[in-house]
């Protein structure tokens, strides 16, 4: 059963698709992992993590876009999420990514977020995108830079506190 009207996007190794019911447990496990979800927004109880899972699905319905589940094509396992996130209080819509435990170090976040960014530009008509990264999240900063994003400014995010805003190259810049 599909929970959104998200399209399916394909890359060499991955399928990006809308969240589905069997993504719930890996998603909640990630959100309750204080170490791994610290830079994303972690929860210390299942009730709050479940509400974020509902929010993640509802984002597609309220905004028309959201986080895809990244599916590992070889195994069918959910490997993380990537997509466009646009909360109230954020400076601008952002390209975000999360890779679940066991799927790191394989370039999955790069492959997925590169495809999600292309979708946002080509299918949604976005002309620019940011990524918000908490200071010290070296892994995420490295990925943003690999995607061609550049540090623009530091600001105070209503949920995350001090936050670094990275700006991605726009569709024209990427086409040049």
């Amino acid at each position: 059963m599909s929970l959104t009207n998200a399209p399916r996007l394909d890359t060499d190794r991955l399928i990006l698709r809308g969240p589905s019911p069997h993504d719930a447990e890996p998603m909640i496990a990630f959100l309750m992992d204080q170490d791994r979800a610290g830079g994303f927004g972690a929860y210390d109880n299942r009730g709050d993590a479940w509400r974020w899972w509902a929010l993640n699905i509802g984002h597609w319905h309220v905004h028309g876009y959201g986080y895809f589940t990244i599916e590992d094509r070889a195994t069918g396992a959910p490997a993380g999420i990537s997509g466009i996130w646009n909360p109230e209080g954020w400076p601008e819509p952002e390209l975000g990514w999360v890779v679940f435990e066991g799927f790191e170090g394989k370039g999955i976040a790069y492959e997925a977020s590169h495809r999600a960014r292309q979708w946002a530009y080509e299918d949604l008509g976005f002309t620019t995108l940011t990524s918000n990264i908490v200071p010290g999240n070296a892994r995420s900063i490295a990925l943003a830079e690999r995607l061609g994003a550049r540090y623009e400014r530091t600001y105070v995010n209503p949920h995350m506190g001090e936050d670094l805003l990275y700006r991605h190259p726009g569709p024209k810049e990427l086409a040049a």
């Binding site: 929970l3 959104t4 509902a54 699905i57 509802g58 319905h61």
Partner: protein
């Protein structure tokens, strides 16, 4: 295909899905003390989160919260519907009408319609309402809806009473 949220109409009201254009009206309500029994007071960011998690709840459960709008003007007046968060004891009929629309039977009209629609569309015929001991206004409406206190419990660290509604008949 995802869940389609049914629209419910009453004499004066329309119960419909969450819309971003409702945000300002909800933010104004959730900034005030009156929101203390329904997860507030809280800020604009949290209200946005509530909209999205409310929309997601429909997909996960097949039922959820409607925004209540004035049938003539379209103005958002509150919300009602069936909540069943993962830490809820069972599906709950919830209802809240913003301060300025009180005293006109709007909450009764909205909650009655939601309860009927829950029986009609979702097969939920014996709902509860979770009400804080000090929320006398909500208790009065529960009584008017024919509900009665069943037992006390605690939800997310807050004391509350489970009120049981009478059996609802599908339309």
């Amino acid at each position: 295909m995802s869940v389609t949220i049914p629209t419910v109409e009453t004499d004066r009201l329309i119960l419909r899905e969450q819309r971003l254009s409702d945000l300002d009206a909800f933010v104004a309500f959730f900034a005030g003390d009156r929101a203390q029994f329904v997860g507030g007071p809280c800020d604009r960011v949290d209200v946005w989160r509530m909209f999205c998690s409310g929309a997601g709840h429909w997909q996960l459960r097949g039922y959820g919260i409607w925004h209540v709008a004035d049938r003539e003007t379209g103005a958002p007046m509150g919300f009602t519907g069936v909540l069943n968060h993962i830490d809820w004891p069972e599906p709950e009929l919830a209802y809240t009408i913003f301060d300025r629309y009180e005293g006109k039977g709007i909450a009764f009209e909205a909650a009655s319609a939601a309860r009927r629609a829950a029986a009609t569309h979702f097969g939920l015929t014996r709902l509860i309402s979770l009400i804080a001991p000090e929320n006398t206004r909500s208790q009065a409406l529960a009584r008017r809806l024919g509900a009665a206190p069943e037992r006390d419990t605690e939800i997310r660290g807050h004391a509350c009473t489970i009120w049981r509604h009478p059996e609802e008949v599908p339309a």
